[in-house]
């Protein structure tokens, strides 16, 4: 009785694993849908605050939440209005400043997308993404 039960459990587990193994082999090497760019250097709120005036804050959220509140001195930049918003960010940038990009929370992707474009298209150095985003900034106030 016990052996039959164990055998059936193993048989069912094997059945469940077959499609999973097949999928893993088929999709190996492809990026996950929720995978973020691997080169987004992250920085914590505490560390970024310690950098003081050496930080250029970039807010990648939409216009409405930015208008409500943002990190003091932050400039808005998102992919919807990239061409219009980028010149003000570049005018405020200098080679010594670290650029810290944030969006609403840890799970949002806008900060990673903006950071990636600043790094690869604009070719700026010292680009960071704020861990936990605006939500974490508010928690650590």
């Amino acid at each position: 009785m016990g052996r039959v039960l164990v055998r059936q459990v193993l048989f069912l587990l094997g059945l469940a694993f077959l499609p999973a193994i097949g999928q893993a082999l088929y999709y190996r090497g492809t990026a996950s849908w929720q995978q973020r760019p691997v080169d987004s250097a992250a920085v914590s709120v505490e560390e970024a605050k310690n950098w003081g005036g050496a930080v250029l804050w970039v807010d990648a959220r939409a216009e409405e939440p930015f208008a409500k509140a943002h990190v003091p001195g932050a400039l808005r930049l998102d992919e919807d209005g990239w061409d219009t918003l980028l010149p003000s960010v570049l005018a405020a940038w200098s080679p010594e400043r670290k650029v810290v990009v944030y969006c609403s929370r840890e799970t949002c992707n806008a900060s990673h997308a903006v950071a990636e474009r600043l790094r690869h298209e604009v070719q700026l150095k010292n680009i960071y993404v704020l861990q936990g985003g605006w939500e974490e900034w508010e928690n650590k106030k």
């Binding site: 039960l5 059936q8 919807d80 990239w82 604009v122 070719q123």
Partner: protein
């Protein structure tokens, strides 16, 4: 024998206990044209069970995507769709967004609808920003523009928003490349300028691309040759 009956019951349980929202496809592959401002995907579903299902939440992964739902309660055998609109904005290349859907038949479980949009890239500009630091001489710096796909771009018109910035466009180095040589002609004042880059295609709906130029006031005038 008892064990077999027990396992059969466990296996059959999901089939009879609830209705099920079945998606025609959980992913959409969109190819908007150069002129499109939005890319729209239709995720069709059907309730194949015998109980109504409520769509509790529809949550796009980014503010650039909106998801519209005509009706949140789906009766048995009823079909419907979620219309996802991805706003292209100033994006290009492959964009992947998701829409998380939760229903009351699978509490705590999120169905991830996947939207992939391949936005045609007419021009690839590298870099999109030139900077002359205090220690730099005001010598020309190049920007490489590569024409994407098979777009028949033969000419670029480049203008700067500050008259102290001059530009010269040359073909090459590759067959589909142009080089824009940018030179600041004034020293002693900070310059922040935009370069408007206008290809000669598409003629019916001209596109403008931008690069930015910044010159530190301490950058030195180039040595005369």
């Amino acid at each position: 024998m008892k064990t077999r009956v027990l396992f059969s019951l466990i296996l059959a349980l999901p089939l009879v206990a609830h209705g099920a929202l079945v998606w025609e496809s959980e992913s959409a592959d969109l190819h908007p044209s150069l002129q499109d401002k939005d890319a729209v995907a239709h995720f069709k579903y059907k309730n194949t069970g015998d109980k109504p299902i409520k769509i509790v939440s529809v949550h796009p992964s980014c503010g650039c995507t909106t998801a519209a739902l005509a009706k949140d309660v789906v009766d048995p055998n009823e079909s419907g769709e979620i219309t996802a609109t991805f706003h292209i904005g100033d994006r290009s290349g492959v964009q992947q967004k998701t829409i998380g859907v939760t229903t009351d038949d699978k509490p705590g479980q999120v169905t991830l609808l996947k939207l992939k949009a391949t936005i045609p890239q007419l021009l690839k500009i590298s870099p999109t920003f030139l900077f002359w630091a205090p220690t730099d001489a005001l010598d020309p710096k190049p920007i490489t523009v590569t024409v994407g796909g098979d777009f028949p771009v033969t000419k670029l018109n480049v203008t700067a928003t500050d008259k102290a910035i001059t530009t010269e466009v040359k073909p090459g180095p590759g067959e589909k490349d142009f080089r824009i040589f940018v030179t600041p002609t004034e020293s002693g004042r900070p310059i922040n300028a935009a370069l408007k880059i206008e290809p000669d295609f598409p003629k019916e709906a001209p596109k403008t691309f931008y690069a930015n130029v910044r010159v530190d006031s301490r950058a030195k005038a180039a040595a005369k040759k």
